[in-house]
């Protein structure tokens, strides 16, 4: 099987179940200095996210095929080969203030657990962020996983100050999303950031916020994100 890593071809002369095994094979047998990251080997630590044929995958769970093209994920500074700087996650989480701000004593039940069960399966792999077309044109967009986190904390009954979260995502946040669904398709954990963003918009409306694109309609001539709108 031949695979291309950053446009260089490698012959994998061993049966492999995962792309991670193929990368390890290259490292041990062909190019020992090939730089890439991984951790748990079981799809839960988020370290090995990469792009295969233009789609985000986890190297540890993707089964490679002949002719696959591998590159690093996008919108993260490439440091070497497949190694990227993912530290932007910390600043996005800081900007969205994603944590409980004021704990309110509440007795939760099964229905409360289920409300954010899927959202809290996030492994912080950045696949959704890499897939999001808005990040390309608007680098300070808060992006899908941070907004999903916001949604999770906002609807948590234990949060005494849900408005803090809503306030934090108005600028460069929920209204910049085009609802294109790419994040949802990219997520290995079945999370649906797009729907969480829609829900956050509805919640924002109940706090008196309005879609800024509505008020600007006269200028930009459309809903939501307009790639020609001059960010």
């Amino acid at each position: 099987m031949d695979i291309k890593v950053n446009s260089k071809s490698y012959k994998i002369k061993k049966a492999v179940t995962t792309l991670l095994e193929a990368l390890t094979y290259i490292q041990e047998n062909i190019e020992p200095t090939l730089a890439f990251d991984y951790g748990c080997k079981s799809g839960v630590c988020g370290a090995c996210s990469i792009r295969v044929n233009g789609k985000e995958q986890l190297a540890c769970s993707y089964t490679p095929a002949d002719g696959d093209t591998i590159e690093p994920i996008r919108y993260a500074k490439q440091r070497r080969d497949l190694l990227v700087d993912k530290s932007i996650a910390k600043s996005l989480i800081a900007k969205t203030k994603a944590t409980i701000h004021s704990y309110k004593e509440e007795v939760l039940g099964v229905a409360d657990e289920k409300k954010s069960e899927v959202q809290s399966n996030c492994i912080l792999c950045s696949s959704c962020y890499s897939a999001c077309p808005v990040v390309e044109v608007k680098p300070n967009f808060l992006g899908p996983y941070a907004l999903t986190k916001t949604y999770k904390y906002t609807i948590d009954k234990r949060e005494g100050e849900p408005k803090e979260h809503i306030d934090a995502i108005q600028s460069s946040g929920i209204w910049d999303c085009t609802l294109c669904n790419e994040c949802t398709l990219a997520c290995p954990q079945g999370i649906d950031p797009k729907s969480d963003i829609v829900n956050l918009r509805n919640l924002s409306a109940s706090y008196g916020y309005m879609d800024p694109n509505f008020s600007n309609m006269g200028f930009s001539g459309g809903f939501g994100f307009d790639p020609n709108g001059g960010f």
Binding site: E28, R79, A94, K97, T99, S120, L124
Partner: protein, 518 residues
């Protein structure tokens, strides 16, 4: 020189809970970690965290202490176990308040009473608090969100090389490899908390994160700290053959059978991990294959009880567990031993350095850890470690002269590292594995010496070099492997996870910790 009150090394559940606790008490904290913040064993924990809440059966802290002591084969310290178990209540309250999305039960009277619990092996009550089968993931990320929002600097890509000591021999900082720049970098603090995890990943077959190479344990050892009980390595009986993905105890709890190639059951599936792992090992050396059989449980029940597991089995073993047998093998899962600490979690032999989580031997697991007790330890002692480290912290760290040479040399054979690593890890699995004896251990030690890992070098640009990390980890693995074998040779008895075929019984004489100093 920037001065911190506390330097935490490692961003697992132990490290982050210590950092958050210290920061909430007003300390200037910095966290350094070699990986991205979420990587380590913590996110992988599925089963749960033991806290005697008694939400699903009657339970008490006393009962929890008793179970833990029993499982330790008389090696755990009752005082430390009590500290850990009692600390669990405070720890889970803290988790509830920062928003951990635990699984719940309906109709509870108070927040803690609403947390769902399940039974894990060796527990006399239903005690493990969980968040579906993502317990570690959800705890870690909630802690991470909190740490970020408390403005704690989380420095990723810093690999701890050495503990820096002052002229009095006390710890006062850490020397790191800045992975991005390829240069060394020092961080100084009044107190150091090391939470770099265990060393399960140095074995050929293991369920651990790649990061668990015992770096912090080796660094503390080199700095004069004492290590203990390294010979107690827990093997998990149900991991997928080849990939060693963990299939949790719930598979057997739900009624799964263990069968050999002839389709015969060969062990009581509900007994403890060490006994099952040994029985499997005996089957395998007789040429049998070992399988987990879930077929009779039925598709519907399996899909509600263990959906996550079914997915993993399908993905990595390529079989449909509702219709087919799953080939399994035992693999290294947890390292009970580590850095010796006193009752305040300060390292024995290294003042001002504290050690928490899987890195330490805090005398709470002894010869066998109970499922669900390591998340508890990471949290309970994470919180306690921070509090202890903040006490009388009047130390005044000063910049120290440091000489460190990276093992890089032009013309080195870069493939050698992988050959040697494979040899070391296989050697450990085969000769220092589930069952050991004097002969296998001595052979392993001899062969290890001959590998001469100390002098191994690579030829690469040090900046962003994963090869360099591999080598640094291998050098630590080498130190731990030798210390582990020496401890296993010393313990001339069988106890818990340490099974010596030449000394098959427990011996009163060895009812104590093994200890290793430089």
């Amino acid at each position: 020189m920037q001065m911190h009150d506390i330097l935490v090394v490692g961003s697992g559940i132990a490290g982050l809970s210590a950092a958050v606790t210290a920061k909430q008490k007003g300390a200037r904290v910095v966290v350094a970690t070699k990986s991205s913040v979420s990587v380590g064993n913590s996110v992988m924990a599925q089963g749960g965290m033991n806290v005697a809440l008694g939400n699903a059966s009657s339970d008490s802290v006393e009962l929890h202490i008793e179970d833990t002591l029993k499982s330790s084969h008389n090696l755990a310290d009752p005082k430390m176990v009590a500290k850990m178990c009692q600390g669990g209540i405070e720890a889970i309250e803290f988790l509830e308040q920062i928003g951990v999305p635990f699984s719940r039960i309906n109709g509870a009277r108070s927040p803690l009473k609403s947390i769902a619990q399940r039974k894990l092996g060796g527990a006399s009550a239903i005690r493990a608090c969980y968040a579906q089968d993502y317990t570690g993931l959800k705890i870690l990320h909630t802690l991470l969100d909190r740490a970020i929002n408390l403005d704690i600097p989380l420095l990723e890509g810093l690999f701890l090389l050495e503990i820096i000591k002052n002229s009095k021999g006390q710890a006062c900082g850490g020397l790191f490899l800045n992975i991005e720049s390829g240069e060394t970098q020092a961080l100084y603090a009044k107190k150091i908390i090391v939470a770099t995890g265990g060393f399960g990943a140095i074995y050929a077959k293991n369920t651990n994160s790649k990061t668990s190479t015992g770096d912090g344990i080796a660094a503390i050892f080199r700095a004069g700290g004492e290590l203990s009980n390294l010979e107690f390595v827990q093997f998990h009986p149900t991991t997928l053959k080849g990939s060693n993905i963990l299939i949790s105890e719930s598979a057997r709890g739900a009624g799964g059978y263990l069968v050999n190639s002839k389709g015969e059951r060969f062990i009581d599936e509900l007994t403890t991990r060490d006994i099952i792992a040994k029985a499997e090992f005996e089957q395998i050396i007789q040429g049998e294959k070992v399988y987990l059989d879930l077929r009779h449980i039925g598709k519907e029940k399996l899909e509600t009880l263990m959906p996550q597991e079914l997915k993993l089995i399908k993905q990595y073993a390529k079989v449909d567990a509702t219709k087919e047998l799953i080939e399994i093998e035992p693999a290294v899962h947890y390292t009970m031993g580590g850095v010796s600490v006193n009752e305040n979690l300060e390292v024995v032999g290294l003042e001002n350095c504290y050690c928490i989580g899987e890195t330490s031997n805090a005398n709470v697991h002894g010869a066998n850890r109970l499922g669900g007790n390591s998340l508890l330890e990471a949290l309970s002692f994470g919180v306690l470690g921070a509090k202890e480290a903040l006490k009388n912290s009047d130390a005044k760290p000063m910049e120290q002269e440091i000489n460190y040479r990276l093992p890089i040399k032009k013309g080195s054979d870069n493939f050698a590292l992988f050959r040697v690593k494979k040899r070391l890890s296989t050697l450990l699995f085969e000769k220092v594995g589930i069952v050991r004896d004097e002969k296998s251990l001595s052979e392993a030690l001899q062969e290890l010496e001959a590998l001469n890992i100390e002098s191994l070098t690579i030829d690469d640009n040090p900046s962003n070099s994963t090869l360099l990390l591999e080598l640094l980890e291998l050098k630590n693995a080498n130190i731990l492997a030798k210390a582990l074998i020496k401890s296993a040779l010393w313990r001339k008895e069988s106890r818990g996870s340490h099974i010596r075929s030449d000394y098959p019984n427990e011996s009163k004489e060895f009812e104590c910790n093994s200890k290793i100093n430089i």
